[in-house]
């Protein structure tokens, strides 16, 4: 609207409704991290998945199985989006091995777990929650039924679920969960709210009835009506634009900058070095504590949720440390137990041969893409 219009126009009281005022286009609405699927620090594609749970590709999204193992397998990837305005990436699940014999305890669900610190705005009081809305864009190779589930744990165990029919073109789907009483959401760094997308479910999880309002936890009522992504190797599902916000309406997706989104993800997972990106990638700087022991200190870009685990790989000459004009290949790096949420100490002792007291810097050793140094504080 032109400025003159704002200066000269008036709005009658009757045109201002609660609904209109309740949907301000303000920032920091979206509680979901990496909702637009831009960040994939671990990998952009992993194949042959399905035997176990884990974080495989896109940051903050974990795949879980049910209690029984499915023979179904899938590829999980960060796909390129060309036909949805405002989005460049999606999370794609592509069935590669079908499983049409579904045991009762089988399940496959895509989840983002949210720590308590980040969902306090859902609370109306210490024992009640406001209405809030989950929204997402999705498309599939064919019409597909999936169930979204909002689950609370730790404080009060509740679940609310909705069935969605995904079509072959991008469409936005929404799920509003009404205000609820007798709810407790702890203000801490544990997993308090989980957003689940059910893609496959045996009778253990689907034999009951969905409740769109918060109800007591009951496995049978979690995924009633959900189809199976494992029904055919033709099956695919793409999801993006995931948003969770206070209020009973889905507002436009809140786009954050790549840097902001990456920083939010790094609270849970940080890649210091990855041989898949470069086999000579820098890791850290430090000192030869003795001739055969290295200590390095890394100040992390973001304080992590918990003291992180360190994921690495070892092998002949996987790493190299430079000091006093020469390189010292060695086979492994390790995490020091004195590391904190903000600072990680990285040590090495296997085949280390230098001079105590020399300053040094360490890289991936130029020999293997398998070498890595990654920090994990996921929920």
């Amino acid at each position: 609207m032109a400025l003159s219009k704002i200066l000269n126009a008036s709005v009658t009281d009757s045109t201002l409704t609660t609904t209109k005022l309740a949907t301000p286009n303000l920032g920091r609405r979206n509680i979901i991290i990496n909702g637009d699927m831009q960040i994939a620090q671990r990998s952009t594609s992993e194949t042959g998945l399905g035997a176990s749970a884990g974080y495989f590709t896109l940051d903050r999204y974990v795949m879980y199985n049910g209690g029984d193992a499915s023979a179904g397998r899938y590829t999980m990837s960060q796909s390129t989006v060309t036909d949805l305005e405002g989005f460049s990436n999606a999370l794609k699940i592509d069935c590669t091995t079908a499983d049409t014999s579904i045991a009762a305890g089988e399940g496959l669900l895509l989840q983002q777990a949210i720590e308590g610190f980040n969902v306090q705005q859902l609370k109306a009081t210490s024992t009640t929650t406001k209405a809030f809305t989950l929204s997402f864009y999705a498309k599939s190779n064919a019409s597909r039924a999936i169930v979204t589930e909002v689950r609370t744990s730790n404080g009060t165990n509740r679940q609310a679920c909705k069935l969605h029919t995904i079509g072959t073109s991008w469409a936005r789907h929404t799920f509003t969960v009404s205000a609820a009483s007798s709810m407790q959401i702890d203000n801490d760094n544990s997993s308090e709210v989980q957003i689940n997308f059910w893609l496959h479910a045996g009778s253990t999880y689907s034999s009951g009835t969905l409740s769109a309002t918060f109800a007591a936890s009951n496995n049978a009522n979690r995924a009633a009506g959900a189809g199976s992504i494992f029904a055919s190797t033709d099956n695919t599902l793409e999801i993006t634009g995931v948003q969770l916000e206070v209020g009973s309406q889905a507002t436009p997706f809140e786009h954050r900058s790549y840097g902001e989104e990456l920083a939010l993800c790094q609270r849970y997972f940080t890649v210091l070095a990855d041989g898949n990106r470069s086999t000579s990638e820098a890791i850290c700087q430090g000192t030869y504590y003795t001739a055969n022991i290295l200590f390095h200190t890394v100040v992390l870009p973001v304080q992590m949720r918990s003291k992180p685990s360190m994921i690495t790989a070892n092998g002949t000459n996987y790493y190299i440390t430079f000091a006093n004009g020469s390189g010292d290949h060695h086979d492994a790096i390790a995490r020091s137990g004195n590391s904190s949420k903000s600072v990680v100490e990285i040590t090495a002792e296997t085949n280390v041969a230098g001079t105590g007291g020399h300053a040094c810097f360490t890289r991936i050793g130029g020999t293997s893409a398998d070498a890595k140094c990654m920090l994990d504080a996921e929920l």
Binding site: I293, S306, S309, N314, G315, A334, G337
Partner: protein, 53 residues
């Protein structure tokens, strides 16, 4: 498999390693860490961790 790990300076056991082939995950003794929670569950299920070198 899991193996306990000693600090290089103090020689105290202060973390545990999850070993899968040549991949190692160094896990702090931190109740907030989900890998450590998984390790504790593994121990509670009756499994035995390998002693540190």
């Amino acid at each position: 498999m899991y193996k306990l790990y000693k600090d290089l300076i103090t020689n105290e056991v202060n973390q545990v390693i999850k070993i899968n082939g040549n991949q190692k995950t160094y896990i702090p003794f931190d109740s907030e860490n989900s890998d450590y929670q998984e390790y504790l569950k593994w121990v509670a299920d009756g499994n035995k961790v390998e002693e540190a070198d």
